[in-house]
């Protein structure tokens, strides 16, 4: 059943490239394996040279106070966990958004959600003197959620939120918010000096406390996403057909909105407003398993986690002993992947 959705190309013509795809389950399995490799690499690689057996011992035979083990357990492990959580949230939310808005460009960054989170964080730094990534999370969360609510409300005043309108509303909200952010930043150099490091997106300095307060939101959002996946397949046939097949459009829209708000806010408060990551992995997932959202959504999540954790590792290696923030690496490394996918003609059609 899952594979029937991938046999014919949207234009109706059989497509050789699509026929050569691996079964979706195998693709997802390989992706999970790759994620494990990347996660282990992230534990083992860094500015401080730590032998691999010491990395293993940090978990199998913990010695409190051993400096190498402390680095692995207290500095590297939180980054892996936060990277996986945030990356998965970015990937899943983009997959849902692209399905719900039927716009291949939908991404938390383009729907005004990142801008809302950024405005809240700048306000917190500028007026309330908040100074740590942990202090930012609730502001980022509230800002992202508020922006998403505004986008969904305005986009659907007086009847269904048409995909085009939703996208345009998101762009308008970004356009309204960004100037305020800039205004606060150029008024006060101190705010800029803190904000610029948050805004590029990073996994450093977050600590497990961030993950420990946000995981319930992530789990809740993922459960909603799982519930939505099957319905997305029907929605892709058009609103009327979906309604005819028994999908309740209003319920589905509300659940979509809630899932998007929760996941986007979680991702942004974990790692900062990383643009494109979700968009790129959702397209990659579409290219790998086709348009079946039951496979596409989880694969987008796993790919998001891989890319973000890998970007973090790369950022630690290329300019060692300094670091390049994961968000910058993800943007610079993720974009060529997206472009390559697009050039090969995959993933562009919804």
């Amino acid at each position: 059943m899952p594979r029937t959705a991938t046999v014919t190309h949207p234009t109706g013509a059989p497509d050789r490239r699509i026929r050569r795809r691996l079964p979706p389950a195998a693709t997802l399995g390989i992706a999970v394996g790759l994620l494990a490799v990347v996660a282990i690499a992230s534990l083992a690689i860094g500015a401080r040279q730590i032998p691999f057996d010491v990395v293993v011992q940090a978990f199998t035979a913990p010695v409190p106070g051993d400096p190498d083990q402390v680095v692995v357990r207290d500095l590297r492990l939180p980054r892996v966990i936060i990277g996986i959580m945030a990356g998965a949230a970015f990937g899943v939310v983009a997959a849902i958004l692209q399905g719900a808005t039927r716009n291949p460009l939908a991404d938390p960054g383009l729907l005004g959600i990142n801008a809302g989170a950024s405005l809240a964080v700048v306000t917190a730094i500028s007026f309330l003197g908040v100074a740590s990534p942990f202090g930012f999370i609730w502001f980022a969360f509230a800002g992202a959620a508020l922006a998403a609510v505004v986008v969904f409300l305005i986009g659907s005043v007086g009847g269904g939120a048409s995909p085009a309108r939703l996208a345009l509303t998101g762009a308008a909200v970004t356009a309204a918010t960004t100037p305020l952010i800039t205004l606060l930043l150029i008024r006060d150099v101190g705010t800029l000096s803190q904000y610029r490091f948050w805004s590029v997106g990073s996994l450093a300095g977050r600590g497990l406390e961030t993950a420990s307060v946000l995981w319930p939101f992530l789990v809740g959002g993922l459960v909603l996403a799982a519930w939505l996946a099957g319905r997305m397949n029907l929605l892709a046939l058009g609103d009327d057909v979906a309604r005819g097949l028994g999908v309740r459009l209003s319920t589905t829209r509300i659940v979509t909105a809630v899932a998007v708000i929760v996941l986007a806010a979680t991702a942004t408060s974990l790692a900062g407003p990383i643009a494109l990551l979700g968009l790129a992995v959702a397209h990659a997932a579409r290219g790998l398993v086709g348009a079946d959202y039951r496979w596409l959504t989880p694969l987008a999540g796993v790919l998001g986690a891989i890319v973000l954790v890998a970007a973090d590792v790369i950022g630690r290696v290329v300019v060692a002993p300094a670091e390049l923030e994961a968000g910058i690496v993800a943007a610079i490394v993720g974009a060529p992947v997206l472009i390559a996918l697009v050039r090969r003609g995959r993933g562009a059609s919804l």
């Binding site: 716009n103 291949p104 460009l105 383009l110 305005i154 986009g155 659907s156 005043v157 007086g158 009847g159 048409s162 085009a164 309108r165 996208a167 345009l168 509303t169 762009a171 308008a172 909200v173 970004t174 356009a175 309204a176 960004t178 100037p179 305020l180 800039t182 205004l183 930043l185 150029i186 150099v189 800029l192 000096s193 610029r196 490091f197 805004s199 590029v200 643009a275 494109l276 968009l279 790129a280 397209h283 390049l324 923030e325 968000g327 910058i328 690496v329 993800a330 943007a331 610079i332 993720g334 974009a335 060529p336 997206l338 472009i339 697009v342 050039r343 003609g345 562009a348 059609s349």
Partner: protein
């Protein structure tokens, strides 16, 4: 579309003529609406330009301003009017027109409201080149403008080269553009986090766009280029309807949309590059002008002239607000353009929803 009552008085008996009469009436109504929108936008732009000429710290009267404009004013008035205020107004018109029209060309050609040069990385390329030249090479003034111009063209060229495959289809071009925009913003983030914080702040000011300190030589160059591009766009505009067809429908009608698309995008890139070199990437003018114009004119049309006028009016009004609304603080115009353009666009979207038409 409401049916027009009593539009074909002579043809009471003939259904064909009744329909033809109604179609003609609907067309002329639409044309009248488009014309009145153009007139209204021109009036708004004029009013803002006049206010911008008259208001200011120098405390000149209207008479003194007019006298200075025709060369009869006091030296002080002439300096304020001809060296400070008039260049500002002209720069606002040139940059606003170019960005509004450039954005409209992009969005129409790529058939996606999100596909504006801001989001596709063209203005981002300009920012990256300009900020890089400021932070890494320590350049200033015209050199930065030149770098911005080159940056916009380089990103557009890359987008072109990477997206081209037996023609130019909308969605591939847009996705490549988004990819490039993200590389550019990653590199910009890297530059800004590594720079000394005061320099980063200055770069940020350039990046929102401003028209405060533009002299006549730059204006003449940019203005001339924009006029040439405007004329080219006007000559090209009869072919615009072709762009609103999907690839498949164009092909099935036996038309080749590629050449029209290439022309439209080239014109758009040229306009945006010139405007950005002149005034910095004045935020969101390119993104919101065309949707506003299209909502005002009514749907189904590219509304190029209205988009250009919307851009000009928006920058003029925004500059007026930027100069006078923030008690004593000179705010770059790019901060205000988003602040006034975006809520207006949101309002139009919400209103369009209620009427059931497409925002």
């Amino acid at each position: 579309m409401t049916a027009a009552p009593l539009v074909a008085p002579a043809a009471a008996g003939d259904p064909v003529e009744v329909v033809a009469g109604r179609v003609a009436a609907a067309r002329s109504r639409r044309r009248r609406r488009a014309a009145s929108v153009l007139v209204a936008l021109t009036l708004v732009a004029l009013a803002a330009a006049v206010a911008s000429m008259v208001l200011g710290a120098a405390g000149l009267t209207v008479g003194e301003v007019v006298a200075a404009l025709v060369g009869q004013g006091s030296p002080k008035a002439e300096f304020v009017v001809l060296r400070l205020r008039l260049p500002r107004v002209v720069a606002a018109i040139v940059a606003g027109t170019a960005l509004g029209l450039g954005g409209a060309l992009f969005q129409t050609t790529l058939r996606n409201a999100l596909a504006s040069p801001d989001i596709l990385g063209v203005t981002g390329g300009a920012s990256l080149a300009a900020v890089g030249s400021m932070l890494l090479l320590g350049l200033e003034g015209p050199a930065v403008a030149l770098a911005a111009f080159a940056g916009a063209l380089v990103v557009a060229g890359l987008m072109w080269g990477l997206a081209w495959r037996d023609g130019l289809t909308g969605i591939r071009f847009v996705l490549v553009g988004i990819g490039l925009a993200s590389i550019v913003s990653g590199l910009l983030g890297w530059l800004l986090t590594r720079a000394e914080v005061r320099e980063a702040s200055e770069a940020l000011v350039w990046m929102v766009g401003g028209i405060g300190s533009i002299g006549w030589p730059e204006l003449a160059t940019a203005g001339g280029a924009v006029v040439v591009l405007l004329i080219a766009t006007a000559l090209f505009s009869p072919r615009m309807p072709l762009l609103s067809l999907s690839d498949d429908s164009a092909r099935s009608l036996g038309l080749d949309a590629t050449r029209a698309r290439v022309t439209a995008i080239l014109l758009g890139v040229g306009l945006v590059a010139v405007a950005t070199a002149l005034a910095g990437p004045i935020a969101f003018v390119a993104l919101v002008s065309a949707p506003i114009a299209r909502a005002l004119v009514g749907h189904g049309q590219a509304a190029l002239a209205a988009s250009a006028l919307t851009g000009a009016a928006m920058v003029l009004v925004a500059d007026l607000v930027a100069q006078h609304a923030f008690a004593g603080v000179a705010v770059p115009v790019g901060i205000v353009t988003g602040l006034i353009g975006a809520p207006y666009l949101l309002w139009l979207i919400a209103r369009g929803n209620r009427k059931g038409s497409d925002g």
